[in-house]
């Protein structure tokens, strides 16, 4: 099969890129360390990730096309770096940036590559039925999978034209859906465990460099996030909050326990939404619905109260400290008696 290498350089996540890379080299990373293409690929891989961290966006320049081998190869290398750094926060930043890049490239080239990507990714779709219509159709299950409703009401299924299992979308909309799909695929790929110890040569150097970039970025971010009154929260909730903040997906029960607690502490729906946004699977409308439901603003209008310590224990979510001794409910937790925060409680 004729491979369009420029296309692979533009969209290195394509399935086709994998076979291209396989034919390009059957040797392992280590044996490659002196190969010039490879050295440049690692360099570009490091750059990809740095761009993602700093600019939340990955560049595409035409000279990348000239050095297409390095460009294609830099993508799996960047994914390997992310996997090795093993931090959901970073995974999310990287995948989002790659997704954005796809969207912008598609738009720039007036969507000419759209069908090709759809086919490569095995997404069920139909091209516009006749020249008078410009609407594509995509299987509703694929549509829902990227949960576009988080982008606003017009994306909700209820406001879409849908027929026999297919949702009508414009070229531009379809490109957005595809980019989101790519983002999700990259998130998945970057979850395959990669051991940093196995890196050597240029790869090792790149990894070390990225690790320090990432650490310093996180430090800045953490400072920015300080200042809330979490010091008076019981250990069970502190744990949930920090897991949530690191981008972990909390289970339904965990999220519910945390949200009801924060609501009872007087946090607003908006404040809680800000916290929940760090979930990799964050879906604005669903999360909002759930929070508002728990706050009693929806449906049954019943306000849910946070679970008692006993219930938390039965969920396996209780991690008591010395100030948990005489309490039956997380809301009774006061922490260190001398602490400033307990005064105004």
């Amino acid at each position: 099969m004729e491979v369009n290498v420029f296309l692979l350089a533009k969209y290195p996540f394509l399935e086709e890129a994998k076979s291209f890379l396989e034919s390009y080299s059957t040797v392992s990373f280590e044996d490659l360390s002196s190969d010039e293409d490879y050295v440049r690929a690692v360099k570009r891989g490091v750059e990809r990730l740095k761009e993602a961290i700093v600019f939340k966006k990955i560049s595409f320049k035409n000279e990348n096309l000239i050095d297409f081998k390095a460009e294609v190869l830099s993508f799996p290398i960047a994914v390997a770096f992310v996997a090795a750094l093993n931090d959901d926060f970073l995974r999310n930043i990287f995948a989002t940036a790659e997704g954005k890049r796809v969207y912008e490239l598609l738009k720039r080239d007036s969507y000419s590559d759209l069908e090709l990507i759809l086919k490569d990714q095995k997404i069920k779709f139909y091209s516009p039925e006749d020249p008078s219509s410009s609407l594509y159709r995509i299987a509703f299950s694929e549509y829902l999978k990227v949960s576009p409703q988080k982008w606003g009401k017009t994306w909700k299924l209820v406001n879409r034209q849908i027929k026999r299992g297919f949702v009508y979308v414009s070229k531009e909309e379809l490109s957005r859906l595809v980019s989101e799909h790519v983002k999700n695929r990259i998130l998945e790929r970057s979850r395959h465990p990669v051991d940093a110890e196995s890196f050597s040569g240029p790869l090792r150097e790149g990894y070390v460099e990225l690790k320090s970039t990432w650490e310093s970025y996180k430090l800045k971010f953490a400072k920015f996030n300080k200042g809330s009154s979490e010091s008076s929260f019981p250990p069970c909730m502190v744990r949930l909050i920090s897991r949530q903040k690191s981008g972990e997906n909390l289970s339904h029960v965990e999220r519910r326990s945390l949200v009801t607690y924060l609501l009872a502490k007087g946090q607003s729906v908006e404040e809680i939404m800000t916290l929940l946004k760090s979930s990799p699977d964050f879906k604005e409308s669903i999360a909002r619905y759930q929070v508002e439901h728990l706050a009693g603003l929806r449906g049954s209008r019943k306000k849910y109260s946070p679970p008692s310590c006993e219930t938390m224990k039965s969920y396996g979510l209780c991690f008591p400290d010395e100030w948990c001794k005489n309490i039956k409910h997380p809301l009774q937790y006061r922490g260190k008696p001398s602490s400033q925060t307990s005064k105004d409680e």
């Binding site: 299950s141 949960s147 909700k156 299924l157 209820v158 034209q161 849908i162 027929k163 297919f166 669903i286």
Partner: protein
Amino acid sequence: MNGSELRFLRSVYSEYYLKHSNLIEVPPPVSKREIGFVVGNEKVMKRHMSFQDNEAIRKYILDNLPWDAFHSCSVYEFPENPIDKKNVIWSEIAFDIDAKDLGCQGETYWVCDKCGEVFKKDLQKCSSCGNELREVNFIASTCIEKTYEKAKELALSLVEDFGVNENEIKVFYSGHMGFHVYVDSQVFREISQDERREIIDFLLLNELQPNFFVLFSQLQINKVGVGRRIASNVVKIIESPSSYAFLDEDSIKKIEQRKKELISSVSEGSLKLALSLLGQKILKRIVQEALSMSRIPIDPSVTLDEHRIIRMPGTINSKSSFPKFEVSLSEKVYPLDLLPTYGEKPIKLKVRIAPPFRLRGETFKELHNTEEEVPRFYAAYLVSKGVAQVV
């Protein structure tokens, strides 16, 4: 309910199950589903059971005569484990439409359990003896018919909008005041719990954009998606305008005169003719009415929760002592005429109150503080409602 009523109900259950145990049917793979029963005089729920096959379930039911029986919509690796350790393999999707969610309460009475008075209004306290009153909701035929229509609309939406095959959809009368629509389709198996939310909103018309009226001002209704439902309800209103109180004599006349043309233009998605004929104000009312008719009021919690257990087809619903059974999607029938036959023999009852009720093609007349011989299956219904005693 005292001992003799309980014994009577059990005998009716037993008769039904002896005759119709073949109707009990858990969808495959039976052994990978959680099964639950309500058993004993205390009516306790036993969950997290599993059975080899439908035969084993039928045997259990015949031996134990449970008050209610359920199966999970999900297929699990370990159906007997606690919820968080069952491991979902896949989930089918179920929709529950209850007459109550259509604003249809059924025939409601308030009875005094102390002196036996019956009231049509909720007086809180019995006016004869001061005892607290108990609310009793009887199944009303009109509610059943309306709810059945909604269930069919839902099935149609699944086919037309979501591309489900008709043979992948089953519609059941729940045994009481509702219908279950059960879907086993590959596309739905792939839908996660969160994604189901969007389907629910689609059916409930939640967050429908107010700019629907922009569409309206362009004088067309999309023939696909929610627009299809709205257009079909506009047609419904045009078909029999006099049954809609908001339409004045004049509009009704105008509609009647050009009904055919109107119907065909609206079916095409165009509101132009309707506008020129009826004017903006009336047309707006019609579209608004059509909009509220287009809501399919499913119970979101049933559809959302993948660990939900749902009433087992072919088993008796203790709220009424009628079984849940499959009904047709296409035929125009009154579902309760199709109630399987059992309990024909009459039994003498002391009845506090029973509104007229149509069952199996027969209308049972109103009863009020009287002794009467009625067929056992109907007697079981009145006993379950707590308004009759075995004499």
